[in-house]
């Protein structure tokens, strides 16, 4: 298997450990990730909040480049994944939209056909690679580790037409957790918004939503939360200290990217997975795993 890898802006900076662990995990699974040449920002929700056509044109440039390689795109950041997928679906289902998007690309030397699909690594693991095969690759089952699968918003919302998983009660991450030998902690808020998008514009609202998630996780007695989103990770991990200060509570809840968890089970060294880059220390957790 081979994919055009679209890291997105966060994975080059604040989510460096997500980038490192994604590359390591797929390398260990003999899946080639070829970084998309000269990729640009997907525009995120800022593009759709400023200009609708721009919100399709920015992903379209990336998709056109991946078509030159004839490779499906893999995007670990759910926001990038949504924007790229939305552009792909818009031009795939609507020939007029394809013409319109191609008009925006005129003069760049790029042209879009709508021929390559866009995938998220969680579902590449679950569907394309397969969990049976993943299980065979596990060398260090993460027994007795109690893990919360946190999906966040846009990995599955709005629902994709290809129905990857339930938008309201997804199980993809749950199944990955059990495949690597750990235990799933039931979590009512598995798809509830962390408020991360409002981090700069409305700090109080963001802290409230993030606090609710962290508190529920703490009360459930989990060892860690796993996420697949850089923005959720930023809110739950890097801003955990702000939540603790605002609510005068000690939380101390490690938050790992799902690829970091999978990487540990595959026997990849914690350092190579960027586990020293998380804000809330994963030391205790690693010790309990005798790593």
């Amino acid at each position: 298997m081979k994919f055009a890898y679209y890291p997105g802006c966060s994975l080059e900076s604040t989510a460096k450990e997500y980038d490192m662990s994604t590359r390591e995990v797929f390398k260990a699974l003999d899946t080639e990730l070829l970084e998309l040449d000269d990729w640009n920002c997907c525009g995120s929700s800022a593009a759709s909040s400023t200009d609708y056509l721009l919100s399709l044109a920015l992903p379209a440039r990336n998709l056109a480049i991946s078509e030159n390689e004839n490779l499906d795109v893999m995007a670990p950041c759910p926001e990038c994944y949504l924007k790229l997928w939305k552009a792909y679906k818009s031009v795939k289902t609507d020939p007029e939209m394809l013409d319109e998007v191609n008009k925006t690309l005129e003069g760049t030397g790029l042209k879009l056909r709508g021929s390559v699909d866009v995938k998220h690594p969680v579902y590449v693991l679950v569907n394309d690679f397969g969990l049976e095969k993943l299980k065979e690759k596990v060398v260090k089952p993460l027994e007795e580790l109690k893990v919360i699968p946190y999906y966040g918003c846009v990995m599955l919302k709005p629902p994709r037409t290809d129905r990857l998983d339930s938008a309201e009660n997804p199980t993809g991450l749950d199944r990955i957790i059990t495949t690597v030998g750990a235990a799933v902690v039931p979590f009512d808020s598995k798809v509830k918004c962390c408020g991360g998008a409002l981090m700069l514009t409305n700090r109080e609202v963001m802290l409230k939503l993030t606090h609710e998630l962290l508190k529920e996780a703490k009360d459930a007695g989990a060892d860690c939360i796993i996420t697949a989103c850089p923005l959720c990770h930023m809110a739950l991990d890097a801003r955990q200290i702000d939540v603790e200060m605002a609510y005068n509570e000690k939380i101390d809840m490690p938050v790992l990217y799902f690829t970091q968890l999978v990487g540990l089970a595959l026997g990849i060294a914690p350092r190579k997975l960027g586990l020293n880059k998380n804000f809330v220390s994963a030391e205790k957790l690693l010790k309990s795993l005798e790593m």
Partner: protein, 198 residues
Amino acid sequence: MELETIRLKDCDQNFIKDVIEAGGKKAHLCFQCGTCTAGCPTVYAMDYTPRQIMRMVNLGMKEQVLKSGTIWLCASCFTCQTRCPRGVEITSVMGALKSIAIKEGIEVADKKGPVFHNSFIEVAMDHGRLSEPILLLKFVGRTEGSIPGAVKSLIKEASLGMELAKRGKMAFLPHKIRKPKQLKIICENIRKMEEEVQ
């Protein structure tokens, strides 16, 4: 209870069409069930609920809608859109409303929302990729009225910035793409296409 009178002749009958064209698909299909409001994680802080906004959009209450704090409190989580029994793309409606408010330069009480989205796109278009430090500088410079205020905000964010840098998670210089000119061409094409429509 005193009921407010809405004068339809003061409303903008084209507004719903503009919202749909700006990406707010199926906005006209709303039948006011309130499922959007029931699931909204930030509704408690809003001046109008999402259901109210949908009704106001359909009635053409453009000014009130574009000036409301609601559209900037929307975290784009897509819960409303996922659950809407009419298939209204409510989150996209909120996005469309934000874009119309920005394009028309609507003055809002809290300008952090429009400033954030505008600054984000400026940085992404200049370099081809987002640079958090540049975004932060632009954002703080434009939202803080005074220099001491700006300095205070920056110091507050600086500690997080230093912690990120310590972990190799903050690039102080922007990552630039090799062909930023292609983005300029795309922007220019869009500008021309949108001029033609008007």
